[in-house]
């Protein structure tokens, strides 16, 4: 289900509306509804910028601080990607969100047989620090933070980011990287996993522990409800599962003797926006509340700064359609509106042509402009949490909060998130929901304009991004050149130390930084882990 299930009477009037998360929407709302859900102004809303943060994590909302715009960007070699980064920044984009190609995400160098045909295709190819030096050249890393959309080898990329920043003359205590670094959601929904779950979670713990002392402005994990929803989860499950995954990472670090208070303030999230506008707004308002309460009650976190749900609330690809692709421009605008009404701190949109391939400069800039004009042209900065006090929104926020807790309890009663992912329980559940969605779409119970209503069946011509095979050739040649010219003994020594640390269960990060500085490749480092940690086996879900 996308927007809602609409049940109609024989005259075609809507009689019943059920949101994807399972909440029924009434025809009208009044004060009696607030009473029925036990709404309490002080406890449920409070002030913006104060616990439980329902209204916003900042008192001034967008008055004090516009949202950060972070379009997902990267393709070809680091040269093409650097050019595109600069194009976006020149047009006013305020953050980066780096797309890596599949070989890089899977820990293979560009010259690996499995990388054939994939180098630079869906993101930027990165083999060594040399590539990061090119990719980030001329960008002020004190001013612009970088999301790194990478998971299984996020520890390697975070080490490489520190190495490049210091090489380019930036202070590691002032740079702000946000590696996605969420392996549990990869297993649920995006598939870029490599290592066994236990060592994979240990690596995440290492990055969190290391960032605390070494890169205090870095957000070492960005837990992605986003991809779980793309895989078929409901909005309530999207929040619930993300929070339980975040708890699993907290547990990994507190087992090492730290208090959650010391590190959880740097946790970040990535959530998805498409479908029902009201449900999205209620989801984020309820989500901020659930996360704050979860941290306070389960982990004893007290400092309000550490209780804030920070992150990227981004327009989702699942809402976009391949048919009549330019309609996706309008869809994106409404997702951006939902993000703003939800108090998104950072945001991005899928571009209108992304049902086909990665965006062209034109479509990427259209997405950026959509977000910029929402901030400046329609009054969304005027007041914080503008929908607060609506009988409907407040009732729905309370109901969503209850739903999120309910979904969390269901998983906890089944042994917790790590077990439910290892066994395939969560994957099975969301895959079935995805199937039901397709069935409803096919039956016409769910409407997509231009797909199953008002469809013309005509094919539209849009200019698409073209993959250039010379990028792969350039990248492979450059890698060969690197391997010829780097100090082989230093590389071998750094990899040997990495292997020792991996097996000794010491924090992996200092050794990774040394490997990066010696120009060891991503594939070489990832292979050390493959050897030491073993690889993950997908549970059967059928």
């Amino acid at each position: 289900m996308d927007v809602a299930r609409y049940m109609k009477n024989e005259k075609g009037a809507v009689e019943k509306v059920i949101l994807p998360s399972g909440i029924e929407v009434k025809q009208r709302y009044g004060p009696e509804d607030l009473e029925a859900v036990g709404f309490d102004y002080a406890a449920d809303l409070g002030e913006p910028g104060e616990y439980p943060f329902t209204r916003n994590i900042f008192p001034g909302g967008y008055r004090s601080r516009e949202w950060t715009t972070r379009q997902y960007t990267g393709f070809g070699t680091p040269r093409e990607t650097n050019e595109r980064f600069k194009l976006m920044i020149d047009h006013g984009q305020t953050g980066l969100n780096v797309a890596f190609d599949l070989p890089t995400q899977m820990g293979y160098d560009s010259d690996h047989p499995l990388a054939f045909g994939e180098v630079g295709r869906v993101g930027m190819a990165v083999d060594s620090l040399r590539d990061f030096e090119t990719a980030f050249a001329g960008i002020d890393l004190h001013k612009v933070g970088a999301g790194l959309t990478i998971n299984a080898v996020a520890s390697i990329m975070l080490a490489m980011y520190q190495a490049v920043a210091e090489k380019l003359g930036f202070d590691r205590t002032k740079i702000s990287a946000t590696p996605q670094n969420d392996i549990l959601k990869e297993v649920i929904g995006r598939g870029a996993w490599i290592y066994d779950l236990e060592p994979a979670i240990r690596l995440i713990g290492d990055t969190i522990e290391y960032s605390m002392t070494t890169m205090p402005r870095t957000n070492p994990v960005s837990v992605c409800g986003y991809h779980i929803r793309e895989s078929g989860a409901t909005p309530a499950q999207e929040m619930a599962y993300a929070f339980l995954i975040a708890n699993a990472y907290i547990d990994e670090v507190t087992r090492r003797g730290y208090q959650a208070e010391e590190f959880v303030g740097r946790f970040s999230f990535n959530f998805n926006i498409f479908g029902n506008l009201w449900e999205q707004v209620a989801k984020f308002r309820a989500g901020r509340k659930v996360w704050a309460r979860n941290l306070r009650e389960k982990y004893g976190v007290e400092n309000p700064k550490n209780l804030m749900l920070r992150g990227l609330f981004a327009g989702g690809g699942s809402g976009l359609t391949k048919a009549e692709p330019e309609n996706n421009i309008m869809r994106g605008a409404y997702y951006g509106l939902a993000a703003a009404l939800s108090g998104a701190q950072s945001t991005a949109l899928c571009s209108f042509d992304e049902a086909y391939t990665i965006p062209t400069p034109r479509s990427a800039l259209l997405s950026l402009r959509t977000l910029q004009l929402l901030m400046d042209e329609v009054g969304l900065r005027d007041t914080v949490d503008p929908l607060a006090g609506s009988y409907f929104i407040e009732t729905l926020t309370k109901q969503m909060e209850e739903k999120i807790w309910e979904e969390m309890r269901e998983i906890e009663e089944r042994g917790g998130m790590v077990d439910c992912v290892a066994s395939g329980y969560v994957q099975r559940k969301v895959a079935w929901q995805a199937y039901e969605f397709e069935r409803d779409l096919q039956k016409g119970e769910l409407i997509k304009v231009g797909v199953n209503k008002y469809a013309t069946g005509e094919e539209e011509e849009v200019d698409l991004h073209e993959y250039n095979e010379s990028w792969a050739e350039w990248q492979v040649n450059d890698l060969a050149d690197l391997k010829r010219t780097r100090d082989g003994a230093a590389v071998r020594a750094s990899l040997k130390e990495l292997e020792r640390v991996a097996r000794a269960k010491e924090n992996i990060m200092p050794a990774l930084v040394e490997c990066c500085l010696a120009y060891a490749t991503v594939g070489e480092m990832a292979d050390v882990f493959r050897e030491a940690f073993g690889t993950f086996k997908e549970p059967s879900i059928f």
Binding site: L102, R121, G191, S231, G232, A355, T357, A434, F542
Partner: protein, 136 residues
């Protein structure tokens, strides 16, 4: 209908976006077919080997990265080398319309780009499954 149709569903290559592959696996099972779901990160060699070992009637691939032409070319070559080129091959995913003739020329019979209906894919398999493998 008493025929028994056995389908291998796999995702070749490094991409992990498996919603489409899983939805099709469920849909085929719901339609009464037997599904062998290989899961993620498969090589073409492993897919062909599994198809032979499992004696499947149909191979369904889900490809989102744009690599469908080289992947399918290799698959068809290997199927031929194994002498099982009569297996019905279908591909779904992010596939531009302009590539469909090239896929069909290679011998890929069913191409289902994003936005295709699951029932159409199920019906296509029923109608096109090779006669020699129709079992009672």
């Amino acid at each position: 209908m008493s025929e028994h149709i056995k389908v291998l569903v796999a995702k070749p290559g490094l991409d992990g976006h498996d919603r489409g592959g899983k939805v099709m696996a469920i849909a085929l099972k719901q339609a009464g077919m037997e599904v062998v779901y290989m899961g993620l990160h498969q090589t073409v060699e492993a897919i062909v080997q599994a198809a032979v070992q499992e004696d499947v009637d149909v191979i369904g691939l889900s490809i989102m990265t744009g690599g469908h032409l080289p992947i399918c070319r290799k698959l068809m070559e290997l199927l031929k080398a194994e002498g099982v080129e009569e297996v019905l091959v279908c591909v779904g995913g992010v596939i531009p319309r302009r590539d469909i003739p090239a896929l069909e020329k290679m011998g890929v019979k069913g191409v289902f780009p994003g936005g295709s209906k699951i029932d159409d894919a199920v019906a296509f398999i029923r109608e096109n499954v090779p006669a020699r493998v129709r079992r009672a």
